[in-house]
Symmetry: C2
Subunit: 339 residues, 2 copies
């Protein structure tokens, strides 16, 4: 059963297990440093669909089907699916997953959505509300550019602090640990984040808007558990990019917790920033989903990584809120994975 420790953290006593996971990406992501780890790479970013939005839906659908296959399960074996994305009314998720016939719970946490879906899916298994659950998120560079910034045809210039929305989806299938004792990656703890607003208004610098939320949730977790950065093999944020990662490192150091030796960020991992012209790195729900559901879970499965804090970070704005002069509130949710 889940038990609360400290003010913000939930300990999962049974440790829900990863039964399957998969990542599906586009061409640019497949050419990045983790290209070999993805389950499926599309060289045509339309995925053969007639719109970018339909292509993104397909990314989610494929990620769930691949993860189910790897777990030896069918969609009928899943009691609940938790899914979300960046598009208005989360249409990548709803249209991507409607054929699965699984009870569907849409989640919105901007780029923190992979951590949010993974956390709630874990809690459902831990509590017995579900026997097996799935978590999935996606993003697509072209659907995101059109919706949040400019049509691609406009050829707008990007600022140095801007991040590149990943064309990617990742999915995890979870089940009760006692039913799958051979599965080695388990969910151990969760800290849900509070909304933090540092009055950042620059929509081309999301990393700066999200870093304070990441620092907040990470500090909550360390305080609640009495642990420190050196107790973990990896603190994986997603996706702060170059600016936000550096800000987070500074903020944590100022609080007496130097996370730099164990900190990496999905936005810095997914592309080769020297060669791939992505400025401050990657972003989008699919970025952290693809890195977690490929290299990280694979390395944990074979014992190369044991204790990982996965910290999804989201910028809770919309083009409308920014046009109305609003700031960019951030949120970050943490899941502690162990193998």
């Amino acid at each position: 059963m889940p038990t609360r420790i400290g003010k913000y953290t939930i300990k999962l006593e049974t440790g829900p297990s990863v039964l399957g996971f998969a990542a599906v990406v586009g061409k640019k992501e497949s050419e990045g440093p983790y290209g070999e780890y993805y389950d499926q790479c599309h060289t045509d970013t339309t995925l053969g669909e007639s719109s970018w939005e339909k292509a993104e839906s397909r990314l989610q659908n494929e990620a769930v089907h691949l993860a189910l296959n790897k777990a030896g399960l069918k969609s009928g074996d899943i009691d609940c699916i938790f899914a979300g994305d960046l598009l208005n009314q989360c249409i990548s998720s709803t249209f991507g997953l409607r054929s699965l016939n699984i009870p569907f719970l849409g989640q919105y946490g901007a780029c923190s959505t992979m951590a949010q879906t993974l956390a709630i899916a874990s809690l459902f298994v831990e509590s017995g509300a579900a026997v097996r659950t799935a978590a999935v998120t996606s993003s697509h560079f072209c659907s995101a550019e059109r919706q949040f910034r400019f049509p691609l045809e406009y050829g707008g210039q990007r600022t140095p602090t801007a991040q590149w929305t990943a064309t990617a989806a990742g999915s995890v299938i979870l089940g009760a640990r006692n039913a799958y004792p051979a599965q080695s990656v388990t969910m151990q703890a969760i800290t849900f984040g509070r909304i933090v607003d540092y009055d950042i208004k620059d929509v081309t610098n999301m990393g700066a808007a999200m870093a304070p939320a990441a620092a907040n949730t990470l500090t909550d977790y360390f305080n609640d558990t009495g642990t420190n950065p050196q107790d973990y093999d990896l603190i994986l944020t997603g996706d702060l990019g170059l600016v936000g990662s550096s800000l987070l490192d500074d903020m944590m150091k100022r609080e007496g917790r130097d996370i730099r030796p164990v900190h990496n960020d999905c936005g810095l991992m997914i592309y080769d920033r020297e060669k791939q012209d992505v400025h401050a790195g990657g972003s989008g729900c699919g970025c952290s989903a693809a890195i977690l559901c490929s290299a990280i879970l694979q390395q944990m499965s074979i014992g190369q990584l044991h204790k990982v804090l996965f910290l999804g970070t989201g910028a809770l704005m919309s083009p409308t809120s920014s046009q109305q002069g609003e700031t960019i509130p951030g949120v970050a949710h943490l899941v502690y994975l162990q193998s």
Copy 2:
């Protein structure tokens, strides 16, 4: 602890309790048949804010504060808040609740969001993942018209099947039953719905798109629990409106379950359709939230109603998906409340 019964239903053994609830509405809603039940009625639908979106955020914020006050609690007493709305990137929720400093989990279920947030908030309390939780949703006629249909200034004509998005928010505060034995309204069971698509494409007839999902979830619940419509005082859908409610009644009757003697719909309750020119009735996340969090929970609290199935229904489309020729998938989530 939550236990699964049948294929889709979750039984809540401890019965999380309603500690407080509140509804905040606009002028048109306050002039409807349930005007006297709302906690706060605004005659100025801007709520003194500079945009409709900010007005909607304020509706949510006020609903949570009023519900907390009625429960004798402060925001620091709440472990998790589950919130959602219809606006792109759920900005009514994020901006409305950012000042509360409560761990925040954004939910998206279109007009089913009140049932979805209430269900997950209940499960968190039931499992011990949280001691106290909050659920809140909102909608605003003017922000919804601008985003989903036309700018108000355009003065577009409405079709007879169209529903009127309510300017309203509702919030519920939940806690463990054993800690609040005097609280009489408890959550007893949950059925999360699957996405159902009957190929409806008419965005001015959402009721028809959602009715099959409502029938699906209601049938799942009856099958799983071995109960029938006559075992309940009220089956409250939200928001099918006139067309969808009649379709649901027909679909259920064809399956041998006549729900008409106990069925009512929040979209038919919130306005006086004879006098208020709303065509097929009300809709929007805030519609079912406001009806549930006013008249229904008040009547349950004083023993006028005992067994209520609350069935939130959502149309999972966006203007973009419809412009791309997509159909309108529906979803419905059920919560069984008892007093």
